[in-house]
Structure formats: structure tokens, C-alpha cells
Subunit: 594 residues, 2 copies
């Protein structure tokens, strides 16, 4: 089992050279959030992730969370580690200072999130869901609700959950049936919710459930769903947890991965009805959910980065240690990292992990710029970028993580199939990331429909122009490597632009033809954006090399970018081909002929 070592230097490189940490720390209120603070935060978080959280990963997988006599037993060490996490203040690093948080920019918070997720994905979901509940109340709660819950959620003393899914309502939340009956100043909630992450446990003294349900007079469909806050323990007058609310954990799911995380079926209102309080206005619950979706989806996209990083570290460490066979050009048996195909697998993992991280952090920085840029026009421009790139980070990073985690198993050979090795857990854990918080298909429909077609590709075409300008700058640098990188990137950008224009045209003829290509289009955009970041990384590395700095690190950045250009970027051709030519074949077969 390999150790997790947070890739602090790689992270700082992306933050400073690609995501514009200097620009973010020039925004109002973030003057202290510069390189020095970033380094300090990442070093400390890396230590905590490696020493406290990472050892939970295997334990959580083996023991799992279990439901015993109606109580959820979390795996050994989870509760203790969570309490340390709260004490150290990690829960609230990007939350408002008004409620006890540190208000750090997303560009600092997201790398820290990546570390938790690399260290133990199942554990990381608890603070992540808490963050979701926190934001729901922060943006839409009454002052009383905020006073009652926010400080506890920011500190992590209480955890939060998001109760959306029901058996008949998964991707399609319009089918939600849970009911909320008005009573005095509150509502009585009745219904069954499934797939509730960290839905029940005794790690903290209370759990704050955010629940979608329908009012008696609500219109059908998506416009009749309201949002409620339903604490596990109702609050006493002094704000402390009091009476147990009518919400019960009926069962925990037996899952492929993330065993440590209790995925609960929750029954609301088995007796008198769970007491809940309306959040915001009636019938706007789904809209409120969507306002929080960028954060949650970006966080799941980071899970793709995080598992890829962890799987890569484990495979690399094994490949350095495992002696097997004499590689070409070597005199005797040696570590398998010498075999060309093992190198190919490791580089495929490494280059994509780096490209994904870069795009995710750049998107995080856009969030910060959208939040605090002094020019409202720039705020709007960055917000459009965030809206556009969020489904890409979510969909592309998690799909790519499937490939990376699977290669991680492959590098181990037969040992990869043995659970004790640990490589297989990454593959199992990764498998949920393309599904929850909106499947890849949902992300792709969002990207194509709301983010592209609705505005005739305006934001995207502007992004393409920025990619072209960046690529031209890199191509003008001295050296064959840069000419090659720019040439490959320009081919890919051209494919992307062609596919975009094709989809805009196709949608005007028949939307089905466009949407049949939505997922390949998402993968195309992710691949090309990844290439864009790798080209920028190579140029940044070259500047350091030219200044005579630490050659090995920066030389590797250029070599990794070249690998991405030669091995990964050509996939853009295939994706674009499928987008342009594949729709009719997708739709051709009669349903009965499958």
C-alpha cells in the first residue's frame, strides 16, 4: 500500500503559473491570500491529509459503514479524524468569516479539497455535503435559520446532507413525491429519500438535512418543489440539539466503492411527520439547488483529479519497486518502470492528472474572479466561464479518472487484482464520480443546451479565441518542442471549433441530432482545454528554465506536455468525428432491435 504524498509543488505551480494566484490575491479582501499563505496552507493540509486522513482509506474500504440496531457505525478512526479535522478548522476555510470561516478564495480551498479526496474519498464526502447544506442556508435561509445552523456547519460541529433523490426521481427531480404539510411555523415532511451521503451517523451531535419536497398546492413538475431544512435533532430554545426529529435511517447501501461513507435510505415522517422549515420561497427549491451546483460539481470533478493523483502515485511507486524482466536496452532484470509500456501507462496517468488539475484550478480562480472582480462586466464574463467549464470539469475529469484508475490496476499486473494491494479500491471508488451530482450525460446536456446552444456558443467561442492566442504565444517560443506543442494544440482547437459550429447548426435542424453528440462533445472540450493548460504549463516551465531554475521539475513539465500532445490530444480528432458524423447511427436502431 503506497503512502499519499500531497503534490504541493505541482499544485502551487498550477495555482501560480496557470490559475493566476497573483490576480486572485489582488481582489478585495484577499490581499493576504498570496503565494506565502498558499504555500503554508497547502503544506499544513498536505500533512494532515497524509498523516491523519490517508490511513483511513483502507480501513474505511474494508470495514465500511454499517447499520447496527438503527445506528450507523462508521469505520474505525473516522470519528476521531473528523473531530481533529473540525478542531483544526479545515471545514470552514472558504466559508464566510461572519460565521466563523476563513473566507479563503476557491483557488486556495480547492487544492485543499483535492487533498482530502485523494487521501480518503469516503471521508471527504462528509465535509463536502456539509458545505452543500451550508451554502443552501447561506444563500436562501432566513436570518434565524442562518443563526441557528451556519456557525455549526462552518465549524463542522454539525454535518449536513442533501436529500434530493427518491426511487422514481434520480436524474429527473421533477418526479419528487415527498410531501410537506404546513403546521404552525413549520411543516411536517413525509417521504423516502435514497442515496443520502453521510445521511446518518453519530460522529457529530446533530445532522442538518436539506430536503426537497412538495407543498400540498404545489404545481406539478420542477416548479412545484420546495426546499426545507430538517434537523436530525430539533433545536432547543438555546440552540442546542433537543428532541429527536421523525427521520430514520432505514438502510445503508451495499456499494461498489466509497464503503466508508454511509449512503442512507432516509424515511421522513414514519410517525407524526418530520418537522422541517421552509428555506426561501415556496416552489423554488430546485432553482436553489442549481445555484449551489457549480460548487458541488466542481468538487466532484476534483474527485476525478484526486483519485487519478492517488492511483498514479501508487502505480508509480509499485513500478519503481517491482522487479520483473529485462527491459529493452538493459543488461539485467530491473524495475518495471523501465519497460516502455509501463512508462506509457504512467505517463498517460500523470499527464492527464496534471491537465485535469490545471483546468479545475483555473475554473476555481474564475469563481473567485466572478465573485470579487471590481468590474461588473468582468465578473459576468468570469461567471459565464464558470458556468461553461463546470460541467466539463465534472464530466471530463471523472470520466478520465476511470481510465487512470484502471491503468493503475494494470500497472500492478496480477497484484492489481488483489484487494490488499489497494489499486483496485481506487477503481471502485472512482466509479461513482461519473454518476453522482449529475451523470456525465446530464453534464453534457447542460454544457450543450444551457451553456452553448442557448447563447449560440458565445462564451465558448470567446474561450477558443483565448486558447488560440495563448497557443500562438507558446508556438513563438524558441525551441522545437514549443512549435510541436502549438501545432498539435491548434489542430485540436480547430476540431473543437468545427464541432461547436456543427452542433449549433444541427440543433437548429433537429435537437436530437445535436444531443446525440453531447458526451463526445464534452470529452472533446475537456481534452482540448486540458491541452491548452498543458501548453501554458510548458511555456511557464520554459520561463523558469530560461532563468536557470531547478531544471528537472520544469523539464518534466515540458516533457509531460509533449506526451499529452502526442498521446491524449489526438483523441480530439476522434471525439470531433463522432460529434460531426455519429448522430444518425446513434438514433438509427429501432428500440426493439437492441
Amino acid at each position: 500500500m503506497s503512502q499519499y504524498v500531497a503534490p504541493v509543488r505541482d499544485m502551487l505551480f498550477v495555482m501560480q503559473e496557470l490559475a493566476g494566484l497573483a490576480e486572485v490575491s489582488a481582489l478585495p479582501g484577499w490581499e493576504d491570500a498570496g503565494a506565502e499563505l498558499a504555500e503554508a496552507v497547502l503544506e499544513e493540509a498536505g500533512r494532515f491529509a497524509g498523516e491523519v486522513i490517508a490511513p483511513l482509506n483502507v480501513v474505511g474500504d474494508r470495514e465500511g459503514s454499517r447499520l447496527v440496531d438503527g445506528k450507523v457505525a462508521v469505520p474505525t478512526g473516522f470519528a476521531e479524524a473528523y473531530h481533529q479535522f473540525v478542531e483544526a478548522g479545515w471545514g470552514g476555510i472558504s466559508s464566510p468569516e461572519a460565521f466563523g470561516g476563513q473566507s479563503l478564495p476557491q483557488l486556495l480551498a480547492k487544492p485543499v479539497t483535492e487533498m482530502w479526496k485523494s487521501a480518503c474519498l469516503a471521508f471527504s464526502l462528509c465535509p463536502m455535503l456539509t458545505q452543500g447544506a451550508l451554502e443552501a442556508l447561506l444563500h436562501h435561509g432566513t436570518p434565524e435559520q442562518q443563526n441557528a445552523y451556519l456557525a455549526k456547519l462552518v465549524s463542522g460541529e454539525w454535518t449536513g446532507t442533501m436529500n434530493l433523490t427518491e426511487p422514481q426521481a434520480g436524474s429527473d427531480l421533477s418526479a419528487v413525491r415527498s410531501r410537506a404539510m404546513p403546521e404552525d411555523d413549520h411543516y411536517r415532511i413525509f417521504g423516502s429519500k435514497i442515496f443520502i451521503t453521510w445521511g446518518e451517523h453519530d460522529v457529530t451531535e446533530n445532522i442538518v438535512h436539506l430536503v426537497l419536497a412538495r407543498l400540498p398546492d404545489a404545481p406539478a413538475g420542477v416548479k412545484g418543489i420546495s426546499l426545507f431544512v430538517v434537523p436530525k435533532y430539533l433545536l432547543n430554545a438555546d440552540g442546542t440539539p433537543g428532541t429527536r426529529n421523525d427521520v430514520q435511517c432505514v438502510s445503508l447501501e451495499h456499494k461498489l466503492g466509497i464503503h466508508g461513507s454511509p449512503t442512507a435510505v432516509l424515511a421522513f415522517g414514519e410517525s407524526a411527520g418530520a418537522i422541517g422549515y421552509l428555506v426561501g420561497e415556496p416552489n423554488r427549491g430546485l432553482e436553489y439547488m442549481f445555484t449551489m451546483m457549480n460548487h458541488a460539481r466542481l468538487a466532484v470533478g476534483l474527485e476525478g483529479v484526486a483519485i487519478s493523483e492517488r492511483a498514479y502515485q501508487q502505480a508509480r511507486d509499485y513500478a519503481r519497486e517491482r522487479v520483473q524482466g529485462r527491459a529493452l536496452g538493459h543488461e539485467s532484470a530491473g524495475p518495471i518502470i523501465r519497460h516502455p509500456d509501463v512508462r506509457r501507462m504512467l505517463m498517460t496517468m500523470k499527464s492527464q492528472a496534471e491537465a485535469m488539475r490545471a483546468l479545475a484550478y483555473v475554473t476555481a480562480a474564475y469563481m473567485d474572479l466572478a465573485a470579487r472582480h471590481t468590474d461588473p462586466a468582468e465578473r459576468a464574463r468570469y461567471q459565464s466561464r464558470v458556468e461553461l467549464l463546470t460541467p466539463v470539469v465534472k464530466g471530463w475529469c471523472t470520466e478520465t479518472a476511470q481510465e487512470v484508475a484502471s491503468l493503475g490496476v494494470q500497472v500492478h499486473g496480477g497484484m492489481g487484482f488483489i484487494e490488499e494491494t489497494g489499486a483496485a479500491q481506487h477503481l471502485r471508488d472512482a466509479r461513482i464520480t461519473t454518476i453522482y451530482e449529475g451523470t456525465t450525460g446530464i453534464q453534457a446536456n447542460d454544457l450543450l443546451g444551457r451553456k452553448t446552444l442557448r447563447e449560440q456558443g458565445r462564451t465558448l467561442l470567446a474561450l477558443i479565441e483565448e486558447m488560440r492566442a495563448d497557443t500562438a504565444r507558446v508556438g513563438a517560443l524558441d525551441g522545437e518542442a514549443f512549435r510541436q506543442l502549438a501545432a498539435a494544440q491548434n489542430v485540436a482547437i480547430k476540431e473543437l471549433e468545427g464541432a461547436t459550429r456543427h452542433l449549433i447548426d444541427a440543433a437548429s435542424v433537429d435537437p436530437q441530432l445535436a444531443f446525440a453528440g453531447a458526451v463526445p462533445y464534452l470529452m472533446l472540450l475537456g481534452t482540448v482545454c486540458g491541452g491548452w493548460q498543458m501548453v501554458r504549463a510548458a511555456a511557464a516551465a520554459q520561463a523558469h528554465l530560461a532563468a536557470g531554475e531547478s531544471a528537472a521539475f520544469y523539464r518534466a513539465k515540458i516533457d509531460t506536455a509533449l506526451f499529452y500532445a502526442d498521446h491524449i490530444l489526438p483523441r480530439a480528432m476522434t471525439h470531433a468525428h463522432v460529434v460531426r458524423h455519429g448522430a444518425r447511427a446513434t438514433l438509427a436502431l429501432d428500440e426493439s432491435a437492441f
Copy 2:
């Protein structure tokens, strides 16, 4: 949990239209093995697979094989099903009649094997390993050894194992350390073997272990390994099992998948030494293993086909039943198969499963032609084809199965991640297939080194010419679909030829440059061969349509071929690009920079 229904009509279509069943049944001794027998065998095998074996799949996964007090307990129902399997005579359908088999051609036997593997991969490994032991003795055993063991192995009354791997000797068998000390007419075997599939159980009254070990005076490396037969129970004078031999199951592995199959660590010679008998000549054990490798590797390639088929059936059934959301162009909520991206996923699964099956069965037919063609030159030509295509079927089908099984999970959404759904098991089970019987990297090195470079691509370039001729015939058919299919296939063939010539040139400069592209090259060849078969399938379907037959089935074959051409075949461009341009980037990074 979906039922498994053997795709008998699809199988017969491939056997008759693409693999040349008529040609095979014209070979000496196989005159009865025509369409009528094929249909009867497949119907009966399909029934047995669906009714007797398929129900074991979930049970085997949940219970697993367990080691209790030194004995292996196989999952509930496995032993009974195995005894039925033996009674029905399925074990020996392609084994020689002289030892009680039916001597059916591979073209009939392999579809039956596919069914066992779709129904329950873990179960199917027991007869598969028995087949390996059987062939070792059939080709290299003394008459006495053959008389002692073959009839029992053919019937399946005894099972067989292959003992190759040791902790330090996986892909590199030259590192085998197990020792064989001569004593009277036998040897005493000492050593530890790992990853021994069905290495211990009480389902049958004896187990016949085939074991690689070194004689005291053996040369180092691959040329000093001998093959021994080591029965679990030594045989009495009358041939019945007698004294327990000195071989013990020390532990069973805790694996990602195929839980039902006991993967044993076997200790030979913990006391006086396990009694073994030399098979063939000393020091030629590895060579003997290689003579059996085509069968075993083709069988594992079929596992890729089989799991893809099973995963597809399950995803398709779910997509037809699960109602969620209103699809574009529909008035109300309906089954998710109506969503364009669900169709895209199902077609990606279906088209590749069909392409893989076709190439595997065509290769099986080549085996039959290589065995019994009346013209020795033709026998040699087909044998070269078998040698060339075996690593492709093994590598490409199992790698593709990872994608197909993963899509199977994705189609299920959140339910796919829940173990009870069954989709996740296919993904877990599939994961071993790219590893055992030689990893994809090993297959690719075999394809590139032994099968291509060693003869300057002679067999492969001839195959390319055959593909071109077939494609030209299809392109000349009446209809836009055939023009499109041929055009796409010709582009892919050109990429394949270019990549082949590039590798031959690169190897003459620096073999490392060529071998860095070995796996992408294998995937390129598999993808293009798959397209070749799909083009042929479309043409065969068209002939039936023109004759006015069952339109839906044959129309679907053409639509599926078009999907393959538009969605899968373009990957050839990417693979070829990587082969031609990717080697330097693969080899560039310093080992310390990973």
C-alpha cells in the same frame, strides 16, 4: 438482476456468414459439424448456460470461495452445477474422441465457451484450466500419462490446473525457482506457486496440477524450466486416486472479482516433496506452455466478448424498464433507452461486442483450417493467421470489455453503483482479463515482436490486402450505407498499414521506439479488424435483405456496422497517431521525474 439469454442467432450469424462454418464442416472428419449440428449444440448449450450456470454468478460473487480448515468451500450450487456439466458431456466437446471427447471444431466449441463465460466467468475458469492441463498432456505426455489422466480430464471428472506464477516470477517466467529433485521414476517438487486458478477444491475426486519447476542441473533462465504433472492424489495401481500428495493450499486470494473461483497459493513439498512426473523432455517446459497459449489466450479474449455481451444485456434490459425523464421528441416521461446518450452508450456496447465476437470466431475457424485443411500450404497460412490474431483477440477484446462493462454501470445511473444491481460485478470480473494469461503489454509485445517484426509484417500485410479486397466488394454494393462503410474502413486500413510500416522502420533504428507503441498498435489492429468484420457482416445482412428475409435482424446488422464505422473506427486515427508520433514522449522522462 437481468437474466442471461445466449445470443444464439447472433452467434450463428457470425459462424455461418463471417467465420465460414460451411468451409470448416467441409474439412475431413467434420462433415457432420454443419449448420444443423451447430444450431442444436448452441441451443442446448444456451439453455444450460441460462438455466444452470447463470444463476451461480451472483451467488459466487457474494459468497466467494473460502478456505476453511485447509479445505476450500466453493459457493453454494457450484459443485452441483459442475457435476451436471460433466454429466452432460460439455467438458470434452472439442477434445479427441480417443479420450471420450467429441472432437468438434473450435468454431463450434468457442461459442459454447463464450456462453459459459457470459453465464458465470468464475465457474467457467474451472473447465478452462482443465482444458489447459489436458492439452499439455495430450501434446507432450507419455502414453502412460495420457492413459492415466486424459479420459478423466476430458470428461471433467478430474479438473486440472496450470502452476506457472511465483511471487518473483509473473510476466517473466525465467525467474521460476520451484525445484524438482529426481527420485526413482519420478521427481520431488518443492516450491510455492501463486495465482493458481481453481487450485484447490473438493468438487471432484482429484486435481491434476501441471507445474513448472527446475531440475538440479538446469540452465538458468527460460531454457531451464521443465514441466511436471503433479496429481493432488497419487494414483493407485488401478488408476483410482490414492495417497494425498504433498501439495497444500496455503491461502486463497481476496480479489476484486471472480470471487467464486478459488485463486490459490499452493505449497509444493512442505514435507517430503510433492511427487511429480516429467512431461516431455527436460528443460522444455516453457516451450510446451507456449504451444498451448493460443487456445488459452483466445479463451481469455472470449471472456472479453462474453462479459461485454452480459453487461450489454443487463444495461439494455434496465434501459428499457427504467422510466426517468422526458426524452427529446417525446411527450411524456418514458424508458431511458429513449435518451440519445443512453442509446449511444448501448450502441457502443453492442457494436463492439459484435465486432469482437466476429473476430474471435473467425480466429477460431482459422484454428480449424490450420488443423485440418488438406493443403499443407493453406494449413501453414492459417496457422500464421492464428498466431497473429491471438494476441489481438486477447488484448483488444479484454481492453474493450473494460469500457463496455463500465458503460454498463453508467447506463444504470446510481443503481449501477449498488452491488445488488449486478452491473458492478461485470466491471469487477472483467478487470482480471487484461492481466491474466499475459497482460495486454505482453500480448502487444508478442504481436509486434514475434508476429510482426520477426517476419517484416508478412502475415499482417497479407491480411491487410484481404481486408482491402473485402472492403472493395462491400463498397461496390448498391446503397449509400455501403459506400460509407467502405470509405470509413479504407481510411482505417490505411492508418493500419502506415503504422505497421512505421514500426518496421522504427524497430530497425531503435527497438524501444517501436515497442513504446506496441499497445496502441494492438488496439489499432483490433479496431480495424473489428471494422473489417462489421463491414463483412453488413454485406452478409444485405444479401439476406435482398432475398426478402427477416428485415429487422439484418437491418440492425447494417445499422450497427454504421455505428461502429462512425463511432469506433475513428479511434484508429488516434491509435495510429500515437504509434507514429508518441514514442519519444513515452521514453523522454527521467525515471526520477515520475
